[in-house]
Symmetry: none
Subunit: 205 residues, 4 copies
DNA sequence: TATGAATGAGATTTCATTCAT
DNA sequence: CATGAATGAAATCTCATTCAT
């Protein structure tokens, strides 16, 4: 039986933690649960992480570092903004509704007030960067003459809000009887609304 | 000095509870805190409510019953859908970002997984009814030829998502350093995006 | 069965705590032990005291407040300093060797480094005041022409040192085989040495 | 680079242990700390010592074996007892207030009740032998007609008490705000008091 | 011999809930 | 009806000690 290397051990714990946080939220997760899920003793957790909060942060960090770079191309070049935006929405919706990641916004939103360090960390590492990506896309569209928008920053919130609500819907309300949604279809509809708006075009002619 | 009637006593508790849940979230709120805020003993809480969860449900119930009927006119008549929708968004954004109510979505999202009864109750009493209102507005617009929309249900989620993110932003991220937002302005921008979309109109001419 | 008044409950706990601290020292004492000794639940301890350290401080405080005022008369008047000093030494030696109080210096000396708050509190409330009493006695003797002493402050330490060593001897070394000492006799001998010194009187004539 | 011999390894550990026990007391010292201070792994500690208690005993043993033989001349011959006693007090006070050794009495006193083996060992190896030395000095003075003393054994305790209190003062109370003392001066004052007593000589003429 | 990794057995503290008065 | 007091059941974190390599 080979001695597990430290990276493996850390990864095992993070994997186990992800499942438990998903199932129980932050406050509802006990270090004991994570340890049992990882098949190690509680004390061994503390060899790898300074405590519950540090473990949670490491986990979110890893998930985000893996996800964010894939959300949009590094350079937009001549790509049409519409395509980039549709792709971004689709990607985020599918990732955030996957059960493995859904707990992240849920925990931050729900328990951020009780754990300000968590909220601050998340705001800086995830929200700011995520908003930055969307903003770049919108400004790219404006620069190309493709988009028109008086308040690009708020448009970003509108974009992200639809994605977020998909994640919440799927993890919080579907289990208690809400009508199931299909993330890909939902993402397209969300993109359609954002891009075209609700007003009939002909009215403004 | 008249002995306080039971309804008053219950109302006092609910008021106190609202403040404490707001300040500390669900798990972070102790029955002790609520009792102290209400100026009564902890045991007296249990004379009025079966426990923490029941108290929370009663509170949400009351807030919702007060708020939802004001969100949109009962009958739309000939009113333009755009105006009704702007009014709805403005109303919801201002209500949900008021500190007195902001805790509600936060708690449901954050702790719904741990308290399925809560999530179910909220889905049925708030989400379904709220979505119903928005959907009626959108369909009203379509019927009037004002709106065009392939997926009205998803459009509702896009609309609500933007409002929700405002509430979350204000209560979760502003306290840890996020740039403050002004709910009324934000609501207008959100409505603009929803109504007009991002694409430049001229492209489709 | 009458409901115990709060003072009684606090006193019960302090009594129990005294016994356990005596038997096990500070770090060695578990809140569980105190609770069991007091016949109540661990949680009930926290209704009366903020925590282990606060409980210990309250206990020491009470013991000291009871003891110090009895150690010497408030006003010395024309009393001979020798009598006051002998009385002080006798009183302190008998009190500090009683098993009920012996733990106090032991704990402070042994664990003060790990609990600086404890050490500071003890220094201010006990050592400073105790030294003050002795110093008053010595200066009273000097003023009366009864005592001669180049360094009264150090003389106080010499006086207290002998008392302290009695307490330590009795509680730390007697249980492991040291020759037993009799506090009253010991106090008199200590006083003799302090008062007369070791040098033969005739040598200085 | 020669492989360190076992005695060197043990000595390194003891040196490191001394520093850590000094800084943190017995209960406050973690095997981890000692290992890190010694620059080896925790497990390696257990190759050299059976456990924490054994390590502590070995350490005290070594310190004592080094110190005691220097406390007084092996043979007193015609030396004046006063000089020998002053020298003894000075030596002990300076040694016990040096930070390297100060932890020893502190730990024995503080945790002797929890570790009877420690207390027994210390009583036999240190107290008894130390007291024996002082007693020899006092009896030497009596035999020479230099000293007069009804209870030489108690006089020894008075002598040692003053030294002990110096060590305690320096390590326990100075760090929390007590007025600093200078060991050499303190030792001389202590010796003065012990030798001359407080009573004015003329009263007995 | 040396060690990185693991753990069992606590320790303090918290809180929703109950109950005698 | 009201409450002060009590508690059982956790939850996080610690540390001396062991063991496979």
């Amino acid at each position: 039986m080979p001695r597990p290397s430290v990276p493996t051990r850390r990864a095992d714990i993070l994997l186990a933690a992800r499942d438990v946080f998903n199932a129980r939220g932050y406050a509802g997760t006990r270090m004991d649960d994570i340890a049992r899920a990882a098949g190690i003793s509680k004390a061994a957790l503390y060899l790898q992480f300074d405590g519950k909060e540090a473990l949670f942060q490491a986990l979110v960090n890893e998930l985000i570092e893996t996800m964010l770079p894939q959300a949009a191309p590094a350079e937009f070049g001549d790509l049409p903004a519409e395509a980039i935006l549709r792709q971004f929405i689709l990607f985020m919706a599918s990732r955030l509704t996957q059960p493995e990641m859904a707990f992240v916004p849920r925990v931050i939103i729900g328990e951020g007030a009780n754990f300000p360090d968590l909220a601050r960390f998340y705001h800086e590492e995830v929200i700011s960067r995520g908003m930055g990506i969307v903003e770049r896309i919108v400004r790219h569209g404006i620069a190309r003459g493709e988009f028109a928008c008086d308040d690009p920053v708020q448009a970003c919130r509108t974009i992200i809000g639809g994605v977020l609500i998909a994640a919440i819907w799927k993890t919080t309300f579907e289990p208690v009887g809400a009508e199931p949604i299909e993330p890909a279809a939902m993402a397209q509809s969300h993109a359609d609304t954002i891009l075209n708006g609700l007003l009939t075009r002909t009215t403004t002619l």
